[in-house]
Subunit: 358 residues, 2 copies
């Protein structure tokens, strides 16, 4: 099968270096070799999460940890901030865990605003809030820093933040923002293969988890904590993901985190300029566009499926044709991960070419 | 880092062919390419499970599905058959899910007998039984066929069977045995990298799951079923594991399942003969030795750690020094996965050499 390069918002292209690390021989997960591996990457994980707390690797996709956050941190009622396919679903997942949940729903493409959260929390009904920082389905980025300021007024409420598709594309300082649970996917800006998720947990969240009796085992935050103390995992981990992560952390720290964030911002700027210049509109409300992907409102009515076929045939790459109910009326260009701005310019040129020939 | 070949009971050595498949470029998990991949392997998965039911790949280790079986299938009370580290823990996991559980405990190394299960179930208190077919910590294999016969007398009880370390080393016909939930790990006899689990579910179990309201999302059997119908997964899968599985299924069907089972049995026989000949004893009760690993009682009082150091230094391989409370007083030789009987003979020769020089 030919290699089609993915400019979709996850999974994204994985480098050959990462794949070499990913396919290293197995080691025993209860061996000193595994402990050395986890111990080697742990301080670097703390560095990219900007935290002194332990950082965990869950052998699951992000949804596992998202469900875990509900089971570990919600006893009273969770406020689910909903603005796209993934954040909307978190409400259903909370219900499926037998928990009480209330929706803070805005239209897809609109941001979640701090004042809306504040008004809800002021009722005193909630002990947790879920927020997706960067809603991948709509390319909308919520104002995390301003929301974090509001959250400080409610110290009894757990602040659960999904940074699945924004993590390491911009600085998100966990400790400083006072987040209680923050999680990320591997197949997004980290540019690792799919199949694992990273997360970290505040002391406040650990204390809350200890009061919940049906939090289960596989995603039990206290089990992760206990095991991490000896550089272990509660259950058999995906060892390959640990190796890939080790390689990627090396890349990231070589590039430098600030340079990495600047590169992602430059990729976004170049793509946004192209959108405006070509007479397209943005799907998200102005000022809330994602830094990792650009969700384009298909106001020109182009045939996105045809465009993608042409990109695949001529340039061995694809973009994304829109998610769920906005498929076709929007499309998404991912510019996260290892992509240089030059790569993004080349991609945009290819899109121009394919559209001109259509 | 040098390549140390693992003769531990999981993870085991992964072939270069499997690793090449495992490290293929990512594809979109909502793409036709992914659907084609899952659709290609699904009939072969049904073949190795001997079932007409859908077969699922969970992006988690086996414990995720083990927890899922409790959340999906237990409302009244679960009888947990306990005879080693993993089966003992299943009792705790059931409790951590907020379920009522009762232990059917035997000493480590002793088998779970059908009549013991029958006596418990006759009380009418239970709606599920958990059984680990091959308890990896003790190398003991429970009499699954005879237990399945007993289970037929209790059609309202869900029969949950963990075949994590026996799957594909011997024939375990899911439909014929009347099992309701059967799961396997990837890093055992399948000789794939760790990080995923396979499972299949009976119609009776799907019907039971539909009555439970707090089964969650990540391990919800009905979500897996709905998605499998269009060759998809509920959440982002570990795409690499699907590729590795495709490659391995090819290998297995080329070798032939019966030949594969015969090879595993021959590996076990050769190892057992060596144990007896060298004056060692078996940890499991006679007649219940595992076909995938041999757990040796260290009656000769050898220094297992020293043996393993010598094997590592001279032959770039390791065996296992015993699990948990029987570490050192037992040791385990794994002979599952891709290993030929010639490889096992060579390993046993190396052990002889290292012991002679000790």
């Amino acid at each position: 099968m030919s290699h089609i390069k993915l400019f979709i918002p996850g999974p994204v292209e994985v480098s050959e270096k990462t794949m070499r690390a990913f396919s290293r021989p197995m080691i025993g997960h209860r061996s000193k070799d595994f402990q050395a591996l986890y111990a080697d990457i742990h301080p670097k994980l703390q560095q990219i999460f900007y935290t002194k707390q332990p950082v965990f690797v869950s052998t699951s996709s992000a949804w596992g940890v998202m469900e875990g956050s509900i089971r570990n941190l919600v006893s009273k009622k969770v406020l689910t901030c909903m603005s796209g396919a993934f954040s909307d679903k978190w409400f259903d997942v909370a219900k499926k865990c037998g928990k009480s949940a209330e929706a803070l729903q805005v239209d897809w493409g609109q941001p979640i605003l701090p004042e809306a959260i504040e008004a809800k929390l002021a009722t005193g009904e909630f002990d947790a809030v879920t927020l997706i920082h960067n809603e991948t389905s709509t390319g909308t980025m919520n104002p995390l820093v301003d929301i974090a300021k509001v959250m400080r007024k409610f110290p009894d409420v757990q602040f659960i933040v999904d940074c699945v598709s924004s993590f390491t594309a911009m600085k998100i300082p966990f400790d400083e923002l006072g987040i209680d649970l923050m999680l990320a996917g591997t197949q997004k800006a980290l540019a690792l293969p799919s199949g694992a998720a990273l997360f970290t947990v505040s002391e406040k969240a650990f204390a809350k988890a200890a009061t919940l009796k049906d939090r289960g085992y596989y995603f039990d935050f206290l089990e992760f904590k206990k095991n991490q103390e000896s550089s272990m995992t509660p259950t058999t981990p995906s060892i390959s993901h640990f190796y890939a992560l080790q390689s990627k952390l090396e890349d990231m720290l070589t590039e430098g985190l600030d340079a990495r964030y600047a590169r992602h911002m430059e990729n976004a700027k170049v793509t946004r300029a192209w959108v405006k210049d070509r007479g397209f509109a943005f799907f998200p409300k102005e000022g809330y566009e994602s830094v990792t992907l650009t969700c384009v409102a298909n106001n020109r009515g182009i045939d996105v499926a045809k465009l993608n076929s042409a990109l695949k045939a001529k340039h061995s790459c694809v973009i994304d044709g829109g998610y769920g109910k906005i498929k076709g009326t929007s499309f998404r260009i991912s510019h996260m991960g290892d992509e240089s701005t030059e790569n993004i310019r080349q991609l945009l040129g290819w899109i121009d070419g394919c559209l001109a020939e259509a």
